[in-house]
Symmetry: C2
DNA sequence: GCAAAAGTGTTCCGACTACACCCATGC
DNA sequence: GCATGGGTGTAGTCGGAACACTTTTGC
């Protein structure tokens, strides 16, 4: 038996794959003849949707209230089952458009949870169907996002630190999504997908500070590093928001970023 | 409609999700009543298995020859379909143990490809079953790995730069796996999962140089940085391999690494 | 001795930190 | 004026790149 080292997989997999040995022995080498019984799956897409409330300096995650079994009256991540002819990506988009109206977003696949017994429906069902979840994470612009309240199902933004016990293994997925969000911010320009077309350097700083916590560089040095990347264009336009000196509005220059795309670099 | 930016997803998804609009309109909000027709899936696990031939300085990937339709006589990534009661992880382990005998390895989930029409069998089948692939990538110790030739099916290590046209979308998966391997090497100590218990700093250097190419730091600086991390223990034992001064044998100190685990750091 | 590989040290330079300080606005 | 936030500059320090140099082996 090989010694599998899953140590870089940061999730606690204990709940996910209960590691029960498969009924078939490995002696039955896969051949056209005598194939072992294959599992049948329904595939779900669950999405961790983040947004940043820069006014209140809070990182929010979108939750929906369940009204059916299993886990009735639990909050959960927005999700759906994949339909015929629909790609995973389409399904993820569909969840988003059903729950919110948003113009700008960043969406990426996270991880696939597929161990047996992660969904109670598996045991209920007469026929042996498994439920698999292809989780995604998304970042949307808070100010530009309207929740679609369909009257019945609850839907709400939760501050990350006040998220309750969720249905299924959704707390795990959320934790994983948060980690991914942090590293995405540090290593790629996701932030600009979620900022307005024009923004001040202060806006960018607020976003980073809210997501990454207060434990990173001060505003002054953040500015310098950001500008040194030469991917922001100063429009020259000034904006005044209450007290203080008016700030320049900048634009993200996608073309200037192009050559840096694959280079190892730090954005923060 | 939201503007989805998938730009950080480096794969060319064109082959994967053919982006055909789902038959159901988004107007039919998901409700307990009138659910849209759900797709039924078989779930496959395909694994990009890398190993490093430090003698010949080559990065190798394990391929198997297909003997059934579809894609008969094409090389492909080792894979299998998930059986009843088997977790994704178990299935990935099973593929590994069926194809090779190995003692040390690193295994991690990569990405899930699930668009419709990625598998020709979908159209053949009378009933509408979709095939989804949860891809993994693995790194194994080359010197410690024996291929299991079962007489019939071809199985071989291919140098990465000589990989032919593969079945399905496996070339894409391979490309993605290679990227992941590179970043794993840089940001985590995967290398030590695949090196012998004791190794010289030259061994580590060879491994890094082979995977990352010749375009990185010289041996001298590599040494210095690696030792500064204080995660390698000098056993004091010297080893002589042909000409040149004998090298010290080192051991990876997992406990010393523990506190660094979650810290952002560069290993290279 | 010479080649080859291991291992050490040193110099240079760029980047990041931590500030101090100036600028432009609202009140 | 003063508070507030924007923006610039600088001195100290840390770390990586480049490369010279020493050490210990095989032949």
């Amino acid at each position: 038996m090989p010694t599998t080292n899953h140590q870089s997989q940061d999730l606690d997999r204990s709940l996910v794959s209960s590691k029960q040995p498969s009924k078939q022995s490995i002696a039955s080498i896969e051949q056209p003849s005598n194939p072992a019984k294959l599992a049948d799956f329904k595939v779900g897409v669950d999405t961790v949707i983040f947004s940043v409330d820069t006014v209140q300096h809070r990182l929010l995650v979108l939750l929906v209230m369940r009204h059916q079994a299993p886990f009735t009256d639990y909050w959960s991540l927005p999700g759906t089952l994949v339909r015929e002819g629909e790609s995973l990506e389409d399904a993820a988009d569909r969840v988003l458009t059903e729950k919110i109206r948003v113009n700008n977003l960043y969406l990426e696949q996270l991880f696939t949870f597929g161990g047996p017994n992660r969904d109670p429906r598996e045991s209920e069902a007469a026929y042996n169907v498994r439920y698999l979840s292809v989780s995604h994470f998304a970042l949307v612009r808070f100010e530009d996002t309207a929740l679609i309240a369909d009257g019945v199902s609850g839907i709400a933004w939760y501050p990350l630190d006040r998220v309750p016990q969720l249905a299924f293994d959704h707390n795990q997925i959320l934790t994983y999504g948060y980690q991914r969000l942090r590293s995405k911010l540090e290593y790629s320009p996701v932030a600009f997908d979620v900022l307005p077309e024009m923004f001040t350097l202060g806006d960018v700083y607020q976003l980073y500070a809210t997501v990454l916590g207060e434990d990173f560089a001060d505003y002054s040095n953040f500015r310098t590093r950001l500008l040194k990347l030469r991917v922001l264009k100063d429009t020259g336009i000034k904006t005044s928001r209450g007290a203080g000196r008016p700030a320049s509005l900048y634009q993200f220059d996608a073309e200037a970023f192009e050559p840096l795309k694959d280079k190892p670099m730090v954005f923060l």
